[in-house]
């Protein structure tokens, strides 16, 4: 990419997109544009380039990441995570992300590394900034501790490995880099939407804000470039959008679900007490006005209650594929639609096969988000973000009670823990319709 930014006066920093041609035979890795979003919003090629330029000014490149002060990200940690893998004389490791994560999560953090297509579930696409296994309310971001825990424990039952053997400082740097890729990915989508909402080909205005009319009496049209360097309004909008992204992440610590002390079951309970709690949990699991867990997890907890739905990542792809198929079915396409269809089909072909979101088989006793009672409690309280699983607790701090009281949620936790040992009276096998197309 040609670096037209040079010095970005509006940011008061030096752009890091210096890429001299000829200094290396292979192109250094570049961030990939989110084409599902760009094509959905009909982002014209000029705008795509301009968005890429603005993103490069805000975030740098995979080899030279850049943390704008407004992001609060730690530049030193990003430097350790980014770039090619190597170690310095003191034995410090660099390029951690490319060494440990890139083959699954991809350079851009889009979950499209070389091995990704063969994994089930697919590796996480960090760009929407949605994470499943966290301590916070459903729509909230994960805390640093949450991401740290995922890296230490891995996600049991999936391809996501544990990185507990890495030194603490490396794990911390990787957490920072995951956040960086999410900030960048969220910002990219916001910029694509901004360009759609605010820019485009419009009536050219004179200094007084009146339309300029040509000889035929039609308004003169012009393309408004996306150029925050020279347009103060755009600059302000870009910084506002960035602040929205950063604020949500910064607020995560205030969104932690902390169970009230009295509701937490005692450490030492008699077998009778435990049994009573399990029994309560069991009836809540099947109570349609309470837990209603069986609707999705099935009457025997095998995960075969509702298997037709998709998680949010797959749903976005499904929508894109459906719209593309509909466009392809049309008889007469005008030039614009025809070229749009070409773009869409190219992107559609690059997507991995769609998979349904399959509720967990609770008889296996494998918990992806951690096996502490507190982990299961939070899954039931907030649901699992980005997936069909709904929450039973209040929807936000201070919001009115949800379907379940805390005590009831702890009862369900006890029941969930007991499920792998409960004899299934009518043992059932999960029978998804298309074995190839499920996420287990």
């Amino acid at each position: 990419m040609n670096n037209s930014f040079g010095r970005i006066p509006w940011l008061g920093v030096l752009a890091v997109v210096t890429m001299l041609p000829g200094c290396d035979s292979v192109d250094p890795p570049a961030f990939r544009m989110n084409m599902v979003e760009a094509v959905s919003y009909e982002t014209a090629p000029e705008y795509q380039q301009e968005i890429a330029d603005v993103l490069a000014a805000l975030f740098g490149t995979p080899d030279e990441p850049f943390a704008l002060p407004a992001t609060g990200l730690d530049q030193v940690m990003l430097n350790r995570s980014a770039g090619p893998a190597w170690s310095d004389e003191a034995g410090y490791n660099y390029g951690l992300y490319r060494k440990h994560c890139v083959h699954c999560h991809g350079i851009t953090g889009d979950g499209r590394g070389p091995t990704a297509m063969f994994l089930n579930p697919y590796p996480r696409d960090y760009r929407p900034g949605v994470y499943k296994f966290k301590s916070t309310y459903n729509p909230a971001k994960p805390t640093d501790d949450d991401l740290h825990r995922v890296l230490i424990n891995g996600v049991p039952g999936t391809a996501m490995p544990s990185f507990s053997l890495l030194p603490g400082s490396e794990v911390e740097s990787l957490v920072e880099y995951v956040k960086y890729l999410s900030y960048r990915g969220e910002m990219e989508t916001k910029l694509i939407q901004y360009v759609f909402d605010e820019l485009g080909v419009m009536e050219k205005l004179d200094d007084e804000g009146n339309e300029i009319i040509d000889a035929n009496g039609d308004p003169v049209m012009e393309r408004i470039p996306f150029d925050p360097t020279n347009d103060p309004d755009q600059r302000e909008a870009v910084m506002d959008l960035l602040a929205e992204v950063v604020d949500a992440w910064d607020g995560a610590n205030e969104m932690i679900i902390a169970p009230t002390e009295d509701s937490i079951p005692a450490e030492k309970r008699s077998p009778e007490e435990l049994l009573a709690s399990i029994e309560k949990g069991r009836s809540l699991f099947f109570d349609k006005d309470k837990g209603n867990c069986y609707s999705c997890h099935g009457p025997t907890g095998l995960g075969d209650g509702q298997q037709d739905d998709y998680n949010n990542w797959q749903k976005a792809h499904k929508k894109f594929l459906d719209e593309t198929a509909k466009l392809a079915e049309k008889d007469e396409l005008d030039d614009l639609e025809a070229s749009l269809l070409d773009d869409r089909e190219e992107v559609a072909e690059s997507l991995y096969p769609l998979r349904n979101a399959i509720p967990r088989n609770l008889r296996q006793g494998v918990y992806r988000g951690g096996r502490r009672k507190l982990d299961i409690f939070r899954r039931i309280y907030a649901g699992i973000a980005g997936t069909p699983m709904p929450g039973g607790g209040p929807s936000a701090p201070g919001a009115k009670a949800g379907a379940l009281t805390e005590e009831e949620m702890w009862n369900i936790v006890d029941y969930v823990y007991s499920l792998p040992y409960e004899p299934a009276s009518q043992p059932q096998v999960v029978t998804p319709k298309y074995t190839q197309s499920i996420t287990n």
Binding site: E42, N138, P139, A140, Q193, Y194, F196, D197, E198, G200, D233, E236, A237, E244, A248, K288, D289, K290, G291, N292, S295, C296, G305, Q306, D308, D309, N312, K319, E323, K326, L327, K330, L336, G383, A385, G386, P388, M389, P390, G391, G392, S395, A396, A399, K400, A401, G402, A403, L404
Partner: protein, 258 residues
């Protein structure tokens, strides 16, 4: 005496015209141009016994007996960072909550208008459980909650959205509604006959967005003397004290992405 009454009349005129001067309305009727056929049946494969009695149908195209297109959104486009003057009567956000009910294994209504700060009440009138998931919101944090009978969820949102977004129930994935959140009252949903009206708009030239789910903005739609753009927007002039009546606006299946 004479002079006085002339003055009063003159003054009176001034007053009335200034009260009318600044505001105007927009109305019209969206009509489906083509054969809508009868609504498609859905694959009701969950809670089948209960839900089938209510015969939920595919609501992605709802056309009334007279051909009116229901559930289309029409709303004022406002540039980022700009705000629109709001008629004094409409400034205050209503205290009454906007209700989105889970009823008969569908959402009622199918298209919901909500202002920022206004209360959305999600209820469940069914004998079975539902969850309501607004994870598709863009500017606002969504939620995904189990909705028990007799314990509605209440929620309000802070940011305006550029477009309506999908609300779903994951237990019954055929259930869909659309929710539009704006920071001004200038929005409407077409009723079962395709009619819509947006009252008390500030007079002047405005852009209006025409939107229908699931496909999104309605492009190249002939409205009055103009057409909607690739972004589904049409520029219309609202005159003071007048209602701009677009009359019948014909929408084809193609424009709805079908």
């Amino acid at each position: 005496m004479m002079i006085r009454s002339i003055l009063t009349i003159a003054l009176g005129l001034v007053i009335t015209s200034s009260a009318l001067a600044e505001w105007g309305s927009l109305k019209g009727r969206l009509v489906f141009d083509g054969d809508a056929g009868s609504p498609k049946e859905l694959n009701v494969n969950k809670d089948t016994e209960y839900c089938s009695q209510h015969k939920p149908v595919d609501e992605s195209l709802t056309v009334g007996d007279g051909g009116g297109l229901a559930n289309a959104f029409v709303y004022l486009y406002v540039k980022r960072g700009k705000s629109v003057e709001v008629h004094p009567d409409m400034e205050k956000v209503g205290d009454e909550p906007v209700v989105l009910d889970n009823k008969g294994c569908r959402f009622e209504p199918h298209a919901v208008l909500l202002r920022t700060g206004q209360t959305l009440e999600v209820s469940n009138s069914d004998e079975i459980a539902h969850n309501t998931n607004t994870g598709a919101l863009i500017a606002n944090a969504g939620f995904n909650e189990t909705i028990p009978k007799n314990a509605p969820l209440v929620k309000s949102f802070e940011s305006r959205e550029s477009f309506p977004s999908e609300v779903v129930c994951n237990i019954h994935p055929w259930m869909k509604a659309y929710l539009l959140i704006r920071d001004n009252p200038y929005m409407a949903v077409t009723d079962k006959d395709g009619n819509f009206e947006i009252k008390n708009l500030p007079a002047g030239k405005h852009e209006f967005v025409f939107w229908h789910g699931p496909n999104g903005v309605i492009k190249s739609l002939k409205v009055g003397k103009t057409k909607t753009s690739r972004k589904g927007r049409a520029k219309l002039e609202i005159e003071s004290g007048e209602t701009l009546d677009l009359g019948e606006v014909k929408v084809t299946g193609k424009q709805l992405g079908m």
